[in-house]
Symmetry: C2
DNA sequence: GTTAGAATGTAACAGTTGTTACACTATCAT
DNA sequence: ATGATAGTGTAACAACTGTTACATTCTAAC
């Protein structure tokens, strides 16, 4: 699929045609792979990314060691931190890493703010995005504050399954432990119990979800 | 202090004078006490509050029972949820409760969005607010994800001390337990240990912070 | 003063999560 | 085939948090 089709596909319904044309003439398409670090802590960001395909995971890091998955970005999403950084002169508080390979559109800072005054649909999109990210952060809070590790693990598997669009999750126990900020042994223990209950099937490097 | 002075005090530096005049002619001042529920879950919000004085705590509730303090709003702050609700037709995901008595300016929805196109300073304020709330939520995530209960408790005491501008925190163990989503016994136990270490002094209905 | 209720102190125990240690298996490069 | 490495299984234990139960103290209302 070329850029035009991807753009129409993800943003055709929400942006007016002049804006779509302007985006197409200005934005650069960047491909990313799994594991690519798209934004890192303390980084200044000069372009705003619009996700065309694939998925990006947004992580938060502790001051010394821990790390935690906050949420995934998917087609049609953008990163709240980028908007913030573009509008102010702020450093990123999060890390964004490719999870499912895909493509992003990079919008230069000046355009980002210029369009807010120029296109109603762009302004609405920016606010809508802030709102969505805010609510996703609230969800992350709910998860870590109110769920035990078993439910967080299940929740993780379901979320990951959703963005992969598959019942098989290709992750090692160690990977999962890192994203949930726990230890590998704990993950293995809980997964094994879930397998015994018949809810999942464990394989080397992958987990199949049997019952949702 | 009358409304004019309060307004100049908190927002005089960031808003242009025409906007300040317009706010003064349109906004209503509302006094709130400790415990007043200013915004509740699932509520539709039709006015945007600007905090002139006092402090407001923002809480998140679990589907069944738990509750958790996310952050405090202080002078010059506004509520991200209100902005969201005003711009879209969304319901509140949080509860806002008066913590330190004070006053808020209520801005009608229409003005809120009208001003975004009309005043650069207002737009900047709205984005800045979104950004601040987002970062405060990230802080809340850090706290619950990476700190143990003892550090969360200390952190709570310091934050509360800050908004009260006093080393004495007037809260019962039960109050604190509720805001940290834990149990009273746990709070009492940890507080007693902190007292033994000489970091705080316990009294009925209040806690004095000795060492920060 | 008596009494009811709220706030606090504390013990004992249960459940969850984190840590250490080690065994075993699969995979890959040589 | 051999060895190295990564991934997984599991036990034993430690640490932290949550629960139940009950005693004590303080305060306000009568």
């Amino acid at each position: 699929m070329d850029m035009h089709d991807l753009l129409i596909n993800s943003y055709g319904d929400i942006f007016e045609s002049e804006l779509l044309e302007e985006i197409e003439s200005i934005a650069k398409v960047v491909q990313f792979k799994e594991g690519d670090v798209l934004i890192d802590y303390n980084q200044y960001i000069k372009t705003m990314p619009l996700l065309l395909s694939g998925a990006i995971k947004v992580m938060r890091e502790d001051y010394d060691s821990g790390e935690l998955l906050l949420y995934y970005l998917e087609r049609g999403d953008t990163c709240a931190m980028s908007m913030t950084c573009c509008l102010g002169e702020k450093q990123s508080e999060i890390r964004a890493i490719g999870e499912v390979p895909g493509e992003i559109l990079m919008i230069p800072v000046q355009k980002m703010s210029e369009w807010i005054g120029k296109y109603k649909s762009w302004m609405a999109f920016v606010f809508e995005s802030y709102n969505n990210r805010f609510n996703e952060l609230l969800n992350a809070v709910d998860t870590i504050a109110f769920m035990d590790m078993n439910d967080r693990l299940l929740n993780y598997l379901f979320e990951k399954s959703k963005i992969e669009n598959s019942n098989v999750v290709y992750k090692t126990h160690q990977d999962i432990a890192k994203e949930l900020n726990t230890s590998r042994v704990v993950v293995s223990r809980l997964l094994k119990a879930l397998e015994t209950e018949g809810r999942i099937k464990l394989n080397r490097n992958s987990i199949e979800i049997l019952v949702k």
